[in-house]
C-alpha cells in the first residue's frame, strides 16, 4: 500500500475516534437538558421552551458526528445470511467492492447537507418556534459529520482493500 494511503487511514481513524468520543458524552447533555425541563416545569412552575429543541439538536449531533466512530467499531448491522459464510479475506473483497454504495449514498447526503446549509446561511434560517433558534450551527455540524463519515468510509475501503491482499492497515 502506498505511503499516503497508510497515512490517510491513520489520520482519518484518529479524527473519527476523537470526535466520536466527544459525541459519546452528549448522552449526558440530553439527559440533563430533559431533566432540567421536567424539574423547572413541575417544581418551580417555569416551563422552558428551549429544552426539547436543545435536546433535538443534541441528538442530531450525537448520531451524525458519532457515525464515523461507530463505523470504525463495526457496529452497523449487516444482513449476514451469505456474508457470514465467507472467509474474512473474501468478506474484505466483497466489502471493498460494495463500498461504492456507501460512498455514493454519503456523497448524496453531503450534497444535500451543503445545499441546505447554504440556504440556511443565505436566508438566515431560523426554527419556527418560541425559542426561534438559528438553524445554521446544527447544519454546519451535520455537514462536518457527514463529511467525516465519507472520509471514514473511504478509509474503511482502503482497509478492506488491503485486507483482501492480506495486509492489515492500522
Amino acid at each position: 500500500m502506498p505511503k499516503f494511503i497508510v497515512n490517510y487511514v491513520k489520520v482519518i481513524d484518529y479524527l473519527s475516534t476523537k470526535f466520536g468520543r466527544l459525541a459519546m458524552y452528549l448522552i449526558f447533555v440530553m439527559i440533563a437538558t430533559l431533566l432540567i425541563n421536567a424539574f423547572t416545569r413541575n417544581i418551580i412552575n417555569l416551563p422552558l421552551s428551549w429544552c426539547i429543541e436543545m435536546a433535538q439538536f443534541t441528538m442530531t449531533a450525537y448520531y451524525i458526528v458519532g457515525g464515523p466512530y461507530s463505523m470504525q467499531l463495526d457496529s452497523h448491522v449487516r444482513m449476514d445470511l451469505l456474508y457470514s459464510r465467507f472467509s474474512p479475506k473474501n468478506r474484505a473483497r466483497l466489502d471493498s467492492f460494495t463500498a461504492i454504495f456507501l460512498v455514493v449514498y454519503l456523497v448524496c447526503l453531503l450534497i444535500g447537507a451543503i445545499s441546505s446549509t447554504m440556504y440556511a446561511i443565505e436566508y438566515d434560517q431560523r426554527k419556527f418556534s418560541q425559542w426561534n433558534p438559528s438553524m445554521i450551527p446544527i447544519k454546519v455540524i451535520m455537514v462536518f459529520g457527514i463529511f467525516l463519515m465519507l472520509l471514514q468510509a473511504i478509509s474503511t475501503f482502503f482497509k478492506d482493500l488491503a485486507k483482501s491482499r492480506g495486509i492489515e492497515l492500522s
Partner: protein
C-alpha cells in the same frame, strides 16, 4: 413503468443490496438515492438529507438513545443479579423453574426499559451461564432468553410503540397501556409452555438441588426486597408519565437517571464501566439512527410514487379481500419480509404503507399498534435477519451453535404467534386498559 412496478423494483433491489452484506443503512440509502435521482432528476439529490430533518422532528426518538443507555446501566447495576437470586430460590423446585424465573426476570426488566437490548444483555450474562451450569438443554435456554427479552418492546415503556405512534399519529400513552396486558399474557403463555414441556421432558430443565434452596422462610421473604428498586424505577418513569407529570422524553431521562443512581448506590459504576457503557450506547444508537435515516429517505420516495395507494388498490380493488383478510395478509407479509429485511427499517418503510389502510378499513389504530409490536417481536427472533438473533449469536458461549439457536426458537415463536392470534380475535385484551384509564 407503472408505479407499482417501480415500488416492487425498489424493494427487490434493496433485498439484493442487503444480501451483499454491506451495512444495512448503506444498502437502503443507495437504493433510495438512485431511485430518487432516476425518478425526479438532479433536484432530488437532496431527498436523502431531508430525511435527517424528518428524523429531527420526530423528537420522541430521543427516547431511543436514553433507553439504550439505561439498558446497559441496568445490566451493570446488579439489580438483575438480586432478582435472579430471588427467582432462583422461589422457583428452583419446579421443573424448568430457572427458565420460568428468567421469563419473570425479563418481565421486570421490560417494565423498566423499552428495548430488548437490556434483556438480552442481562439474559446472556446472568441467566444463560446459570442455566447451562444446571444442565438445562441448550435448545431450551436460548429460546427462553430471546422470547423473554423480546417482551421489552411490548410491556410499557416501549420504543417500538413510540416509533409506531409517530408514524400512525397515535398517543404514546394509550399505546403503552395497550401493550401491558398482552405483554403479561404472552409471558404467562410462555411460562405455561415451559412448565408443561419440562413436566413431560424433565431433562430439558431439571430442578435445582434441594440444598441450594433450603433456607428459612424469613430468608426467602428477605429476597423479595430485590423487587423494590425495579418498582421504584418503573414508578418514576412510566408512572409519572401516565399520570401526566412528565412528558414522554422527559420520562426516559428520569428513567436513565434513576437507573444510574441505582447503579451508583450499589457501587457498580467506575470509570471503566461507565466509559464502556456510553461507548456501547453510542455504537448501538448510531446503528439504529442511521438505519432510520436511510429508511426515512426510502419511505419518502415510496410516498412520492404513491405506494400506499398502490397497495390499497391491490388488496381491496384487485384482490377483493375482506377487511380481515387484508389484516391477515398484512401481518403475514410483514412476518415474511421481517425475516429477510432489517426490522427497524421495515417498521419505518412498511408502517406508513399499512397504517392508512388499517384506518380505512375501520380497525382501531391503537389495537393495530399492539399487533404490529407482537409481529415485530417475532420478526426480531426469526432467522436469517433478527436483531435478537444477532445479539444472541454475539453473546452466547461457543458451545451453543447457530443451529441450536435456530432450533430453540421454533416452539417459542409458535407460542408468540398464538398470542398474536388471541389479541387479533379478542381486541379487548389490548384495548380494555387504555379505555379504562383514559375514560375516567
Amino acid at each position: 413503468m407503472s408505479y407499482e412496478t417501480i415500488a416492487i423494483f425498489m424493494f427487490v433491489s434493496m433485498l439484493l443490496m442487503l444480501l451483499t452484506g454491506q451495512r444495512v443503512f448503506a444498502a437502503i440509502g443507495i437504493v433510495s438515492s438512485v431511485a430518487a435521482l432516476l425518478l425526479w432528476g438532479d433536484g432530488a439529490v437532496e431527498m436523502p438529507f431531508n430525511a435527517a430533518f424528518k428524523l429531527f422532528n420526530w423528537y420522541p426518538l430521543l427516547t431511543l438513545p436514553l433507553f439504550i443507555y439505561m439498558g446497559y446501566v441496568l445490566a451493570e447495576s446488579g439489580i438483575a443479579d438480586d432478582l435472579y437470586a430471588m427467582f432462583h430460590v422461589w422457583f428452583g423446585g419446579l421443573r424448568g423453574g430457572l427458565a420460568v424465573g428468567t421469563i419473570l426476570l425479563m418481565v421486570v426488566i421490560s417494565a423498566m426499559n423499552g428495548l430488548s437490548v437490556a434483556g438480552m444483555a442481562i439474559g446472556a450474562t446472568i441467566a444463560l451461564p446459570e442455566m447451562l451450569k444446571r444442565g438445562y438443554d441448550k435448545i431450551m435456554i436460548t429460546g427462553v432468553i430471546q422470547s423473554g427479552s423480546s417482551l421489552g418492546i411490548l410491556v410499557p415503556p416501549s420504543v417500538v410503540l413510540v416509533l409506531y405512534g409517530m408514524i400512525a399519529r397515535q398517543p404514546v400513552g394509550q399505546l403503552w397501556l395497550a401493550g401491558a396486558i398482552p405483554g403479561l399474557m404472552m409471558a404467562t403463555l410462555l411460562i405455561i409452555y415451559i412448565v408443561v414441556r419440562c413436566h413431560f421432558q424433565p431433562h430439558l430443565g431439571p430442578t435445582v438441588a434441594q440444598s441450594e434452596r433450603d433456607m428459612p422462610m424469613s430468608e426467602k421473604l428477605k429476597l423479595l426486597r430485590a423487587g423494590i428498586t425495579p418498582f421504584l424505577i418503573f414508578f418514576f418513569m412510566t408512572g409519572l408519565f401516565i399520570m401526566g407529570i412528565t412528558s414522554l422524553v422527559e420520562s426516559s431521562a428520569v428513567g436513565a437517571t434513576a437507573a444510574t443512581i441505582a447503579a451508583l448506590v450499589r457501587k457498580r459504576l467506575n470509570r471503566k464501566v461507565m466509559e464502556e457503557t456510553i461507548r456501547k450506547t453510542l455504537a448501538i444508537s448510531c446503528m439504529f439512527m442511521w438505519v432510520i435515516l436511510a429508511a426515512l429517505g426510502f419511505g419518502a420516495v415510496f410516498d412520492g410514487i404513491g405506494a400506499a395507494r398502490a397497495i390499497e388498490s391491490l388488496f381491496i380493488t384487485n384482490w377483493n379481500l375482506t377487511p380481515w383478510e387484508v389484516l391477515i395478509m398484512m401481518q403475514l407479509s410483514y412476518l415474511v419480509m421481517g425475516m429477510f429485511l432489517d426490522d427497524t427499517a421495515m417498521l419505518v418503510i412498511v408502517a406508513p404503507l399499512y397504517v392508512p389502510l388499517v384506518k380505512l378499513l375501520g380497525f382501531d389504530p391503537i389495537w393495530y399498534g399492539v399487533l404490529y409490536t407482537i409481529t415485530c417481536q417475532i420478526a426480531y427472533m426469526t432467522p436469517p435477519f433478527g436483531y435478537n438473533l444477532f445479539l444472541m449469536r454475539a453473546m452466547a458461549p461457543p458451545e451453543i451453535t447457530l443451529m441450536d439457536i435456530y432450533r430453540s426458537i421454533i416452539p417459542f415463536v409458535m407460542v408468540m404467534t398464538f398470542a398474536l392470534v388471541l389479541v387479533m380475535v379478542f381486541p379487548q385484551i389490548a384495548l380494555w386498559l387504555p379505555e379504562y384509564v383514559y375514560s375516567k
